[in-house]
Symmetry: C2
Subunit: 343 residues, 2 copies
């Protein structure tokens, strides 16, 4: 049986409240008393029981990380997010509960509200497309369960979020491809349910319009952010008689799929086709040629969001409920000027 606060009190000859004071670094404890208690703690090898603390405080001291995981596939993106959340949460004494689920389903289907009702977590980090379930957000709001959204669709409501400059980032990339001389630039869309997919696509068209290059919808394919979608999309795009000389993907994972498809077709990157991605996850440097992409500082987005959430949980009104983190172009070897001008 491990020692309890009561044992410590007995051993130190003080009340349990005094021990509790020492444990929580509260003021109004005489130094001698504090020392006495410390000694008792040391002697008994006492460690406070967090389960009891949580119940007494009515807080779980944990945050839930919700992410979309229909295909039960590993995602580079979510792992970077997780690392960021974990680091900040742990430093603040919070545990992190991973909660993969199908965010396109009714929220009650995946036990999110339950997680809060059961008091398993004090708040949530919601990754896209969680905020499409407006009902979920309203429920959480009513329950006074704080949450921070990552790259949400809706930015009208006051609910906190952290996002990246998706539209501008995609516009930069497209402009860069145009500057290289590309005119037929294929595009692979991301998961329709996310706003990032739409914003990036909009950025692509912004640049096209800006350059006076007509938007050609036959060069667009729908994806779901996963590798295989990129591969399929590329196989389809490369079959077009006057095939695109560059393919820009809504994320890196699909871009990796595109690269494989290009190779499978017997073509070369960037000689025959340039390929660009978005995110700059580890994978972007782990394939050949290394991928030109738009860097989205996922780790930083996650840490920012988590700090925000923890402030909210501690009733420290944050300075800013909304953050926009800049993206930037990362030029590697998967892009170059077009060799064969399209017919």
């Amino acid at each position: 049986m491990p020692a309890t606060i009561r044992d410590v009190a007995l051993c130190a000859g003080v009340s349990i409240k005094t021990v509790s004071r020492v444990l929580n670094d509260e003021p109004f404890v005489r130094d001698e008393t504090r020392a006495k208690v410390m000694r008792a703690i040391e002697e008994l090898g006492f460690v406070a029981n967090l389960l009891a603390k949580r119940l007494a405080k009515g807080q779980s001291l944990a945050i839930g990380l919700l992410y979309h995981n229909v295909h039960r596939s590993s995602s580079h993106y979510i792992q970077d997010v997780q690392q960021g959340v974990l680091d900040v949460a742990r430093a603040a004494g919070y545990a992190t509960l991973m909660h993969p689920c199908d965010l396109t389903q009714p929220s009650d289907a995946c036990g999110i509200v339950e997680l809060a009702s059961q008091r398993q977590v004090d708040g949530f980090i919601l990754t896209a497309p969680a905020d499409n379930a407006r009902g979920l957000l309203e429920t959480l709001d009513q329950m006074s369960v704080p949450f921070v959204r990552l790259t949400p669709s809706d930015r009208e409501s006051a609910w906190p979020y952290v996002t990246a400059t998706d539209r501008a980032g995609a516009c930069h990339m497209t402009r860069y491809l145009l500057d290289l001389g590309h005119r037929r630039i294929g595009y692979v869309l991301g998961l329709q349910e996310t706003r990032a997919a739409h914003d990036r696509f909009a950025g692509y068209r912004d640049a096209l319009a800006e350059a006076g290059v007509g938007y050609d919808e036959t060069l667009v394919r729908f994806g779901n952010d996963l590798f295989d979608a990129g591969r399929d999309a590329a196989h389809s795009l490369l079959q077009i008689p006057t095939r695109p000389t560059a393919i820009f993907c809504s994320n890196d994972e699909m871009a990796a799929g595109v690269c494989v498809a290009v190779h499978e077709t017997g073509l070369h990157i960037p000689g025959d086709v340039s390929v660009a991605g978005f995110d700059d996850i580890a994978l972007a440097r782990q394939i050949w040629p290394p991928l030109t992409t738009v860097r989205q500082p996922i780790y930083e987005i996650a840490t920012t969001a988590t700090r925000l959430l923890i402030d909210l949980l501690g009733h420290r009104p944050p300075e800013n409920l909304h953050h926009e983190i800049p993206t930037n172009l990362v030029i590697r070897a998967s892009t170059a000027g077009p060799c064969h001008l399209p017919t």
Copy 2:
């Protein structure tokens, strides 16, 4: 204020113990009573407070997943493990706490024992090289905190583990490369602290010996399981005047690094150099050419381990404390016969 079990009891006109019985599906409750309670629960929208339950039961209903993460890098391996642990744990009503740390450090340095002392978790899944810290295991043992090890070094002690047939797997792969005609096969070792690294290396030498091909230590490089290590190792191996015609890596992530290095050198895979990995993580199919590798069913290993742990936690003596999951050869396009026989 959310409803408590007391409110439900009041509302249903029964005692709280009866409500508790219904909540936990205990027998000896008359059907009518049960129905009455259910109705009250429904009416009040009652959800049991897990924090209270945990304290009362003296269990956190959570398991900790310990993994090595010195470089704060995403690892494909750990994500597959996580998915497996998460799935089984959740189904059993357990939460999963991710705990990245430096497993080569003294265990107390990374707060592992604390996690248990604080009762944050009931047990652990330990990934390699956690079990090198024998002191940690003994401490946990003394605290009666159950744990299951993944691919541990030590298999003499009775402590439960789940592992793969690393040595045999590596031997198969090497044999396959030898059968293709390769004689100078480079090898990139994994993280020295793990047994898998040694076993796989042993398998490599087994096959060499078996085939009467001399073991040449100039063809061996040390790695740490990460991408960059593979890349560096390959650059070094490819500089050898009579360079190896094949490179076998202790894991896929390093193999991906090798592939990039080969391309950087201007050589072709598998035309000039064959490359083989180990694990069969998602990355193996996301690079070009797709990687020939030894499949280690990581997800299955993780689910097996978690089921084992949960049995242990529930005081259900498992049939088997030790599991060995078979590996198998996955031949893809990164290997072929040597074109240029070495001098």
